[in-house]
């Protein structure tokens, strides 16, 4: 039985009236919902065993003025990143930040933390906050022809963690790019946690106005933290003709449970390129949802993950085609080693009016151990009749022929296996035009491959 979180917490996280009301409503919702059970299709293979009454919020950390005072892992990242500006959050709040270049500020680009934005850019935040990832589970029931059986509606409990993230978020990044402005260098947020046995709820809001262009990189990294929860919501607003590239790299330490809903609302002829990278934590549930609202919109959805030891990674994806002529292309590739578990549930939904939809979905896993498990559940709900939809899923061990070939050239078995694992993930990375990010991810993979 889950204990209700109390009103007291709302007072702690604060905000203006409209926000407090929203938080209160969300908390009420949270307290009425159960943690999703096995009976909920979208959570069938993933159990979150959490006693909320035992959890306390992550302690606040002092702001620092110098990079050298930041956790070592962040310092290391900051020396090799090429983001144009960034925030560093330790637990609930920002501990360090750099400024946007003047030239971008003059063009009206805003990059700050969400708490500050609530005060300084109230109109914009109020307009978009909760519009893409509300407290409740978004209703992605498809629009079907009259008289036909409507598609399955989500289970309310799928809103359990998003309600928490809506009620108790403390901070996160806020990015706003005005109409027609192209931001060349990526913007980033580096999140760490440093207190075991706590929870942190964060929220990120990125708004790309018409024909704007921006890349946002959301990295999470920590030491091992037993019994620690990172609950997140990421809202991506991509207006007509805009282009947003969103990269999320989850590399928490052991013991962390990561639950994050990431959703993009994609306008007419707009493009969302997403990359989800899952490497860390003990239990990880990452949802990436593209709501293709506008005609001719486009969503590329990439992911790679490497689960080893007792890691359990759950990736839930949605390609919801609500308008005609939209295109979505999903490629998720993962490696399961040791006793790890991988879950992939990929939804393609096509509304009645979404003719000429072109939706593609592919999930491939490499199994390095006979004790590892992988569940792949692709689902299609198609209500339009002139569409192209395809999905496929493959699971298998390292290609034995390739392994033999490498060994026949003298390469030791262990190294040959590592080469093949790295090669397996390579084609996802080759589609990401962000050199320093790709290098960083390759580094994490190399480490994990070395340990496997």
């Amino acid at each position: 039985m889950t204990q209700p979180f109390t009103e007291e917490l709302i007072a702690q996280v604060g905000g203006p009236d409209w926000l407090r009301n929203k938080r209160r409503e969300s908390l009420d919702l949270f307290n009425t919902l159960e943690v999703p059970t096995e009976g909920v299709e979208a959570w069938k293979y993933t159990r979150v065993d959490v006693d909320f009454s035992e959890l306390r919020p992550h302690g606040k950390r002092e702001r620092v003025t110098d990079i050298s005072a930041l956790p070592a892992s962040v310092q290391k990242r900051l020396t090799s990143t090429d983001v144009g500006a960034y925030l560093v959050l330790d637990g609930p709040d920002v501990v360090y930040a750099t400024e946007l270049p003047t030239e971008l500020r003059e063009k009206g680009v805003i990059f700050t933390d969400l708490k500050t934005a609530v005060e300084q850019h109230a109109d914009k935040v109020q307009q978009y906050l909760y519009s893409v990832v509300p407290a409740e589970v978004p209703d992605d029931t498809t629009i079907a022809a009259p008289g036909t059986t409507p598609s399955k509606s989500p289970d309310p409990s799928e809103g359990k963690f998003s309600a928490l993230a809506a009620a108790l978020w403390t901070n996160g990044a806020f990015v706003y790019v005005p109409r027609g402005v192209e931001v060349e260098l990526p913007l980033g947020s580096f999140r760490v946690m440093s207190e075991a046995g706590t929870y942190t709820a964060t929220r990120t809001l990125v708004v790309a106005e018409e024909n704007a262009q921006v890349t946002f990189i959301d990295e999470q990294d920590s030491e091992d933290l037993p019994g620690t929860y990172a609950i997140g919501a990421v809202e991506l607003v991509i207006k007509d003709g805009a282009r947003l590239r969103y990269v999320s790299i989850q590399n928490w330490g052991k013991g962390v449970t990561h639950i994050q809903r990431q959703r993009g609302d994609v306008g007419r002829d707009a493009t969302l390129n997403s990359l989800v990278v899952t490497m860390g934590g003990t239990l990880s549930r990452t949802e990436m949802q593209s709501y293709l609202r506008g005609q001719g919109s486009d969503s590329e959805m990439l992911a790679l993950y490497f689960a080893n030891e007792d890691q359990h990674f759950d990736h839930y994806t949605l390609q919801h085609h609500a308008a005609p002529h939209a295109h979505s292309d999903l490629l998720y590739k993962g490696v399961n080693a040791d006793q790890s578990v991988g879950v992939f549930s990929g939804m393609i939904k096509v509304d009645l009016g979404a003719q000429k939809t072109d939706a593609y979905q592919k999930h491939r896993t490499l199994m390095l151990s006979s004790e590892a498990q992988n569940y792949s559940v692709p689902q299609l709900e198609i209500n339009a009749n002139d569409v192209r939809c395809s999905h496929g899923s493959t699971t298998g061990p390292v290609n034995q022929e390739a392994l033999f070939f490498l060994r026949s050239r003298g390469i030791h078995k262990e190294l040959a296996e590592k080469m093949l694992v790295t090669a397996f993930l390579e084609d996802v990375l080759s589609r990401v035009p962000l050199q320093s990010v790709v290098k960083y991810i390759e580094g994490i993979i190399a480490q994990k491959v070395g340990a496997a």
Binding site: N399, Q400, E401, A402, F404, F405, L406, R407, S408, R409, G410, I411, H412, K413, L415, A416, M419, L420, T422, A423, F424, L425, E426, D427
Partner: protein, 256 residues
């Protein structure tokens, strides 16, 4: 082991796939310094022989020995055999997307080094330059993924590139000539001939005389139904070319 003969010796080799015997007692000896042609009709065990020598786990050796410089290699892992200097140019090289040729070659060279010894950039690059020159290949090729999207001919050329880079003592070429046009054939032959010398021994598996016009063998062996049914000089290959394989099949029947 200083008195061991420098040769590849195959003694009464039997091998099967599952419970189907394919090699039924092969005997062959190739001293270093010699290249022997291995010929014979399709489906008679030539590729199997090649793959058994390099340790393909698909095949089970049921009897016999393969001695490299006097050491039986049949209990060794495939990579161990390769590090001894045995190299097979595969009939059907695999494609490995995600692994660049450059990276692969560097790691394969590194694998031959003693503990703590690094392949230097100059060593690697120098060797690469000269190998590419011999093969008339542009340097950009090494940035491509291993055999991915390569034509049959490019794959064969890539096998020879690896051969040149890795300096084997014993080479086995499995129908490297099939699928090559005359120009490519000459390039491949030039690659092999550039390595020829007192330290290199090997088997050239082929159907046709045409490769042997460029790489003249010291001896020719004919394999039918998993056995060597006839051995001779280069003239044997010419005879096969003009008379076909029917008469050797008769030999197999007579010998069985």
């Amino acid at each position: 082991m200083t008195n061991q003969p420098h040769q590849l010796e195959i003694r009464n080799l039997h091998a099967s796939v599952g419970d189907q015997p394919i090699l039924k007692g092969i005997n062959l000896t190739v001293p270093r310094g010699e290249l022997h042609a291995v010929m014979g009709p399709n489906g008679n065990g030539k590729s199997t022989l090649a793959k058994v020598i390099v340790g393909d786990p698909e095949y089970t050796v049921t009897e016999g020995e393969v001695l490299v410089d006097g050491v039986n290699i049949l209990e060794m892992e495939p990579d161990e055999r390769a590090r001894l200097g045995v190299f097979l140019a595969f009939q059907y090289p695999v494609e490995i997307p995600g692994v660049t040729i450059a990276n692969f070659l560097r790691l394969a060279m590194q694998a031959r080094k003693a503990e703590g010894e690094e392949v230097s950039f100059t060593e690697f690059y120098g060797k690469l330059q000269s190998a590419l020159k011999t093969l008339e290949w542009d340097e950009s090729i090494v940035e491509r993924y291993l055999n991915e999207g390569f034509s049959g001919g490019e794959k064969k050329r890539n096998e020879i590139l690896q051969m040149l880079m890795l300096d084997p003592n014993y080479i086995i070429m499995d129908e490297t000539d099939s699928g090559l046009d005359v120009d490519a054939l000459k390039i491949v032959a030039r690659g092999v001939n550039s390595m020829r010398g007192p330290n290199l021994g090997g088997l050239i598996i082929t159907h046709y005389q045409r490769l042997l016009d460029y790489i003249v063998p010291d001896k020719v062996h004919i394999i039918v139904d998993g056995r060597v049914v006839q051995s001779g000089g280069p003239e044997l290959a010419k005879k096969l070319d003009t008379e076909g394989y029917d008469w050797v099949k008769q030999l197999a029947v007579a010998g069985a």
